[in-house]
Subunit: 333 residues, 2 copies
């Protein structure tokens, strides 16, 4: 029994039913009478009406991501939806973009739609300035806030993260052990995850006793042509590298294209490792070795934690999952 | 001024404010008094309350797609969000999956969240049985229903489609003119768009005076390994083909991998054309010629039409955009 039943049976719009309930004068006496009769007939009251609008009754989880056209985030959304559905929850998604102001508006929109919890997919939600995260801390007072691959301390905030730092450390370490002492590291952005990956690369250099060389660390756009251009520029500058470790698969595909263009044999002259283990890594020739950051596991763990939180169980505020290097044709160690 | 302001100022949850408004007895006298005082102080009334819950005031458009992990749909969501935001609208997304029952539930969820219109992204929303589309016709009585690359006749329903049939016809025709009389056509599913593409292939065969050969038309999963396996099986059966025309880029990538495995030179021994002009087509080696179905244009046109509908303008119920073949390394004509 809800406002739609009243609207349908009285043959008026939902807005009209709402006007009648709220005593708005812009309704003809005839219509008002019909709506009230139907409400009476169906045993429908404004109190039930308010509840049908989503107050504490509809099981819906809000999901936010910065950009659904990013393959990693698109997959995350998909797995979150599936996991929520299996648990009997609907989900509403909101793509926020990367600007703090829009992220905040997006969260407000979901809150206004009376969701039971919010999942923030991707590490783009943790800002470097602590005060920019206050809106998350505020929202967490009202309902659980779940972070997929982002970490923030706060009551009502739960993080599920992939240990990107260790995954990159291990991949770089394997490359170094197999004779690659000049690894070009490509990264993008300043998200929580990006910073962890960069730390992992530094860890491996330290472990191997290699100096920190800024010329081997490049900020790179998530774009095929731009990546090829960047690698050509780096090589033209005289920087020598015999491996590329990329923080995104699309950059690793760019590295394969660069190798073809430069006449380098992969992996003999140039080893390449991507990140995310996405379809893009499989489309290249040779297929690209890539770190699987277990997005499906992350999403399932996030939803499991959320379900426990909503049932009132006490759960750890942080869950960590390990990444795994999937070896294909661009490495041989 | 909204329920959040009351909740914040009275330092109680939104649910508590709602209980007070609805006369629910589960509120202490002290809390009730504080909430009513704040409401009075802020000039906040239950009537405004009802409006703040989304009745005719919040500008939000619901967006549905079957599966956000599909790159075409992920891009569509992205472009729709961007276009809506430019027009001052928020958007809420719901991934419905492919089952009619879940699609219906998804639409009901968006309706219950009081959106001002609904955009259905992708041609998966038009079912072959007319009665399965009744829920769309019903919903269109309440608010505009916009179809991106799907067509359905009905009051309040607006379609923006890419002319997939002509795009495939032209591509197949170009292949035939350049000497490819045995074109293997790979398609997937039975969506409106899939059927149009198949018709386009048949049109080209008819135009060239070629017989309809069922052995050259293959239903193919949207999966790399499955595509390679399918092509090996078709070849093993003795079916000869010197071109592959695929209704999805991922299948075209599979065709490139098949050619490498079979020792065929691309495009000399085998020409390949994909569909969607996605990043996948660019990751392969050689890069794949692909039909650009103008998803960004489709999304922008959809939002433009929706804005006009919401402003009360009369607009055509169907807008058609042409696809365009982007030539790369897998064709030479």
């Amino acid at each position: 029994m809800n406002i739609y039943d009243v609207s349908r049976q009285a043959q008026v719009s939902i807005a009209t039913v709402s006007r009648v309930i709220n005593g708005n004068p812009n309704v003809s006496e005839k219509t008002r009478k019909r709506v009230l009769e139907v409400m009476d007939e169906l045993g429908y009251t404004p109190n039930i009406f308010a509840r049908s609008l989503g107050l504490n009754t509809m099981k819906t989880i809000g999901v936010m991501c910065a950009d659904s056209s990013d393959p990693y985030l698109a997959n995350a959304i998909y797995y979150l939806e599936q996991a929520l559905r299996r648990n009997g929850y609907n989900s509403l998604l909101c793509c926020s973009g990367y600007l703090p102001d829009n992220k905040k508006k997006c969260l407000e929109l979901l809150l206004s739609k009376r969701v039971d919890g919010v999942i923030l997919a991707g590490s783009q939600y943790i800002e470097s300035k602590p005060q920019d995260n206050n809106y998350l801390l505020e929202a967490a007072k009202q309902l659980p806030i779940m972070l997929v691959n982002g970490a923030l301390e706060g009551k009502g905030i739960y993080s599920t993260i992939c240990d990107d730092r260790t995954a990159i450390f291990k991949a770089a370490n394997s490359l170094m052990i197999s004779g690659h002492s000049h690894i070009l590291f490509l990264y993008s952005g300043s998200s929580y995850s990006s910073i962890q990956k960069l730390k992992g690369y530094h860890d491996a250099c330290s472990r191997a006793g290699l100096p920190h060389r800024e010329d081997l660390i490049c900020s790179c756009p998530k774009d095929l042509d731009e990546t090829v251009r960047l690698l050509c520029t780096v090589a033209a500058r005289g920087v020598l590298f015999n491996a590329v470790l990329a923080s995104e698969d699309i950059m690793a595909v760019g590295a394969v294209k660069y190798a073809h263009r430069a006449g380098l044999s992969v992996p003999d002259d140039l080893s390449i490792i991507g990140y995310n283990n996405s379809t893009l890594a499989r489309c290249a020739d040779p297929e690209i070795s890539s770190i699987d950051n277990k997005v499906e596991d992350l999403c399932n763990a996030t939803v499991n934690t959320l379900m426990k939180v909503l049932e009132g169980e006490t759960v750890p505020s942080k869950t960590v999952i390990s990444g795994e290097l999937i070896q294909r044709g661009t490495t041989n160690f």
